[in-house]
């Protein structure tokens, strides 16, 4: 392929991916209610975003849920990966097979099935948030498992043996030797869990309390007719989220540049 052609493809696809969000970011700083009509500069949207009680509750709820779900997922998934790694082939295969189910399954089906099981069959109350947390954890933990397992496989096992020979108990060796070696996998698993939870619409819809909203369910409801001020405040939210993601990715990249390249996975 020719040089210019390559540059053109790259920049065209980048424009497709970024122009909408950049244009929306630009208009979020104006008082216009639809893009294309330029009005004066205004931070009204940002004021609404951070003062309107419904929006604040939605953002706080989404973030808290993501953190809780990601923490549980990291504990379950990391421990599960370590345990499976040292278990018999049969146990490991079983865990791996079940682990793959939420990964390949459609989110609609995952959400609906947990709703049927916990809410319809077991009559669990949605308002306890338990079905929601359990269901999102079922979605996120497999990805933690998948990011920790390769680290275990790359690990130098003789270090663990050496720690035991030098008088460590298995629990100490695990904490002092194994966990530090798989830490990058745990960290990227945590980040994946956070973003999956923040992005989720379907699992939340089927398991959330009726009055609770995540970003996704809120935005979808807002498209079915909301006040204009709410609509444009969501533009501000897009801009804020865009800036946060760019900052996190840049920070992670700088850190990675310091420690050498590593494989990318979702």
């Amino acid at each position: 392929m020719r040089k210019n052609g390559q540059h053109m493809i790259i920049w065209l696809v980048l424009a497709f991916l970024y122009l909408p969000i950049l244009i929306l970011t630009f208009y979020s700083f104006t008082s216009s209610t639809m893009i294309g009509s330029v009005r004066e500069f205004s931070v009204e949207n940002y004021i609404t975003l951070f003062t309107e009680p419904a929006l604040r509750a939605m953002m706080f709820g989404t973030l808290s849920l993501a953190v809780v779900v990601a923490l549980i997922s990291v504990l379950l998934g990391s421990a599960g990966a370590i345990g499976a790694f040292y278990s018999k082939k049969g146990v490991q295969r079983t865990v791996e097979f079940f682990n793959e189910v939420p990964v390949v399954n459609a989110d609609v089906v995952t959400g609906f099935s947990i709703c049927i099981f916990m809410i319809v069959l077991l009559h669990m109350d949605k308002d306890t948030y338990i079905p929601l947390v359990i269901a999102q954890t079922a979605l996120c933990t497999p990805f933690v498992y998948l990011s920790v397992m390769p680290r275990l496989k790359q690990m130098d096992n003789s270090l663990y043996e050496a720690a035991l020979d030098l008088g460590c108990t298995p629990a100490q060796a695990l904490r002092r030797v194994v966990i530090p070696q798989i830490r990058p996998g745990i960290v990227s698993g945590f980040m994946t869990a956070i973003t999956l939870s923040l992005d989720d619409y379907f699992i939340a819809t089927y398991t959330k309390p009726a009055t609770f909203d995540t970003i996704s369910t809120y935005v979808v409801n807002a498209t079915r007719g909301a006040q204009t001020s709410i609509k444009t405040a969501l533009w501000a939210l897009s801009a804020v989220m865009f800036v946060i993601v760019v900052a996190v990715v840049m920070a992670a990249n700088m850190k990675r540049a310091g420690t050498g390249e590593e494989d990318l996975r979702i």
Partner: protein, 264 residues
């Protein structure tokens, strides 16, 4: 000595129990609800009527058409990008892939809101082109998920294979079809599976661009709103069987490809 002894193998237990309780059990319950009637008797009438009902078949066909369109467009856009990033002009700029993957981490409903505003500006009214808008929004949403596996598979590709192709007198189209494409089949397959299924089921995209036609996922959504657990489960069960079937086929192709690689 009856003292409890820690063994690292035991760490797998909480997760294994979790998986059985909250992944396997719900799916079994869905299968049960899907193949029983309101009285709890085993029944295949719902299942049979799905495949004889023309409305349902229409939904299935519409989902498949959307999924095929979205997957093909994603593949056509993502392949050149992944190739250029992995082997072309941008191969040495390693962090450039990040730029293409980054949008994936912004909430998808917010991203579609952004694209929707642009489409409204261009088209005047979204309602004029519901199908086209759905496809554009899905491509926009899923493109990073296609670029990623393609990139991973293309970076692993040995560059000397491509050079050998040129040395033996092949031109670029020939090297592409005889060397690069066959060696990146696993990446293509995992990219396709990451896009195809969401495109059949993600009905939120359709809702957001005011496309009122149903896809498979919309059926589950509407049965959920009308508390029709049996029919909702039936659709889930049908999707599950479809997913299982898809996974078996793709696993076969990928393991066959890997088997061939070993022989070389």
């Amino acid at each position: 000595m009856s003292r409890y002894r820690f063994d690292r193998k035991q760490l797998v237990l909480p997760y294994l129990i979790y998986l059985i309780l909250f992944v396997v059990m719900p799916l079994l319950v869905v299968l049960y609800y899907g193949f029983t009637d309101d009285q709890g008797h085993i029944s295949f009438t719902n299942f049979a009527s799905f495949f004889t009902n023309s409305k349902m078949m229409g939904t299935l066909v519409y989902s498949l058409v959307i999924a095929v369109m979205v997957t093909v467009i994603c593949l056509l856009l993502a392949y050149p990008v992944a190739y250029i990033l992995a082997k072309g002009e941008y191969a040495r700029k390693h962090s450039f892939l990040m730029v293409f993957v980054l949008p994936m981490w912004i909430n998808f409903t917010l991203r579609i809101t952004a694209l929707k505003e642009i489409l409204t500006l261009l088209e005047g009214n979204l309602a004029f082109h519901p199908f086209m808008n759905t496809v554009i929004c899905m491509v926009y949403d899923f493109l990073p998920f296609m670029i990623m596996p393609l990139f991973n598979s293309l970076t692993k590709l040995d560059k000397s294979m491509i050079e050998a192709g040129y040395d033996l007198g092949a031109d670029f189209p020939k090297v592409l079809t005889k060397v690069i494409l066959p060696l990146s089949v696993p990446g293509i397959i995992s990219g396709v599976t990451m896009v195809f299924l969401p495109a059949m089921t993600n009905y939120v995209v359709l809702d957001m661009v005011y496309n009122s036609t149903y896809i498979m996922g919309s059926l589950i959504g509407s049965y959920f709103s009308s508390y029709d657990w049996n029919n909702g489960s039936l659709i889930s069960a049908i999707l599950l069987m479809f997913i299982g079937f898809l996974t078996i086929i793709t696993d076969k192709i990928v393991s066959k490809e890997e088997g061939e690689e070993v022989r070389i």
